[in-house]
């Protein structure tokens, strides 16, 4: 093990580390918003919206993340536009993850007793108001553990950004690797950077889930 790689290239690693964190955070926020919208579509009374929501979730969940990223990276070129790897990758991560988050939120909403909606509606709130003020706040509590797990997945999944030159940890590791020619050591350090993020998060999520089960 050559630990000098870690110290000599610490700046390069950190640049990728920041890219990975930034992309994961942006995609988490984006997919939470998009996922909530799709979840509301899926339980909506309007048939068209319901079909769209179901179709979206089923389609996205059954295709690879990399394909979604390719759609946003290569797709715009057909219309004479272009997105850089980081942007296309982060949008791809957002769209892909939103389908999973939509499912988690839908399950959370379904777990809120029907009486809550009925009570809200009878007290004069519209459907949208009842959703925003009564049902969603209660559903959120149940949704946090799966959301946390999705965040861990996001951190790991953001590694696909490297395939479209998306300035993430894996991408910068490639720069270190082509400089040092020590692939084994270079990527063991990459693994450490990922574990620094994912291990504590998984631990926290596990404790949280156990507490909820009680």
């Amino acid at each position: 093990m050559q630990f000098s790689i870690l110290t000599d290239y610490f700046g390069t690693y950190m640049e990728g580390f920041r890219g990975t964190i930034l992309s994961s955070l942006l995609a988490l926020a984006g997919s939470f918003l998009l996922g909530t919208l799709i979840a509301v579509f899926r339980i909506s009374t309007a048939r068209g919206l319901r079909w769209f929501g179901t179709g979206y979730v089923e389609f996205i969940r059954n295709i690879p993340l990399l394909l979604v990223v390719y759609i946003f990276y290569y797709g715009p070129s057909a219309f004479g536009l272009s997105l850089d790897g980081f942007t296309a990758g982060t949008i791809g991560l957002t769209v892909y993850t939103s389908a999973f988050i939509a499912e988690a939120i839908r399950a959370g909403i379904a777990a809120v007793p029907k009486g809550q909606t009925e009570a809200a509606r009878s007290s004069g709130l519209t459907y949208v108001q009842a959703m925003i003020h009564v049902v969603l706040p209660q559903a959120i509590k149940l949704v946090i553990p799966p959301l946390g797990n999705q965040f861990i997945n996001l951190i790991k999944n953001s590694s696909v950004l490297t395939i479209v030159a998306g300035l993430d940890l894996m991408y910068f590791a490639d720069i270190v690797n082509s400089d040092t020619f020590r692939t084994f050591d270079t990527y063991v350090f990459v693994a450490l950077f990922y574990l620094v993020l994912t291990l504590p998060l998984s631990y926290v999520m596990r404790v949280w889930e156990r507490r909820l089960q009680r």
């Binding site: 089923e58 389609f59 059954n62 295709i63 690879p64 993340l65 990399l66 394909l67 390719y70 759609i71 290569y74 797709g75 070129s77 057909a78 861990i152 951190i155 790991k156 999944n157 953001s158 590694s159 696909v160 490297t162 395939i163 894996m170 020590r182 692939t183 084994f184 270079t186 990527y187 063991v188 990459v190 693994a191 990922y194 574990l195 994912t198 291990l199 998984s202």
Partner: protein, 216 residues
């Protein structure tokens, strides 16, 4: 957008070749990761001394790393310590280890969910611990594992696309090459590839639903 050009006979055959590699890799990795997952899951469920602790560390490390990194590592880092794997072997090995770690948690969860009374009943009727596990706990646990297992297998099939990082000629890799021939081909090709993945995965989930109703 040039649909006719993108769907030329040559391109379609090229995509089918890719699909063939994807399916071979996925199928092999499904079987191997299921076996690995069962072994680790049972070891952790039965709390086999030492082995159980080693398994815990292994599962926690692997589950918290990106699969892409593991695939890359198998192909490009291991040769430095004298382990040279071919393209397909590296992809299958990485998928097996990563998905095996995931599956071991499903197996452990499924086994743990079996009522303790079942084990006591098995042991009191004179079965050994291993016999109880094999004849009583495993069959009941397996039934409960089917839905999460199938979604894990679907993940595995989608994850084979990450082997583009080592240039394995699977579906996604071949699609990338066709896209590289011209931006006119981009959208038609991505649409078709999405449809292929969707169909294969959809068939998998339909198959599992049928399995579930049969077992219920």
């Amino acid at each position: 957008m040039d649909f006719a050009g993108a769907y030329s006979a040559d391109n379609l055959k090229f995509l089918l070749d890719g699909l063939y590699v994807t399916l071979i890799v996925a199928f092999t990795a499904i079987i191997l990761s299921f076996l690995l997952g069962c072994i680790i899951g049972v070891v952790r469920y039965a709390k086999v001394p030492v082995l159980s602790q080693i398994s815990f560390v292994f599962v926690e490390l692997i589950r918290n790393l990106p699969l892409l990194l593991i695939i890359f590592f198998m192909r490009f880092a291991l040769p430095e310590v004298g382990i040279k794997l071919g393209l397909m072997t590296a992809a299958i090995a990485a998928l097996t280890i990563f998905e095996g770690a995931m599956i071991s948690e499903i197996v452990r969860g499924g086994l743990t969910s079996v009522d303790k009374g079942q084990i006591e009943a098995g042991r009191s009727s004179g079965l050994t611990g291993v016999q109880t596990l094999w004849h009583i706990v495993l069959p009941q646990g397996l039934r409960r594992m089917v839905p999460p297992l199938v979604s894990q297998f679907i993940s595995l099939l989608k994850d084979t696309s990450l082997a583009v990082i080592i240039s394995l000629a699977e579906l996604m890799h071949n699609a990338g090459i066709i896209i590289g021939h011209g931006y006119n081909y981009t959208i038609p090709t991505l649409l078709l590839v999405a449809l292929i993945y969707f169909t294969v995965n959809y068939l998998l989930s339909v198959l599992s639903k049928r399995l579930e109703t049969k077992n219920a």
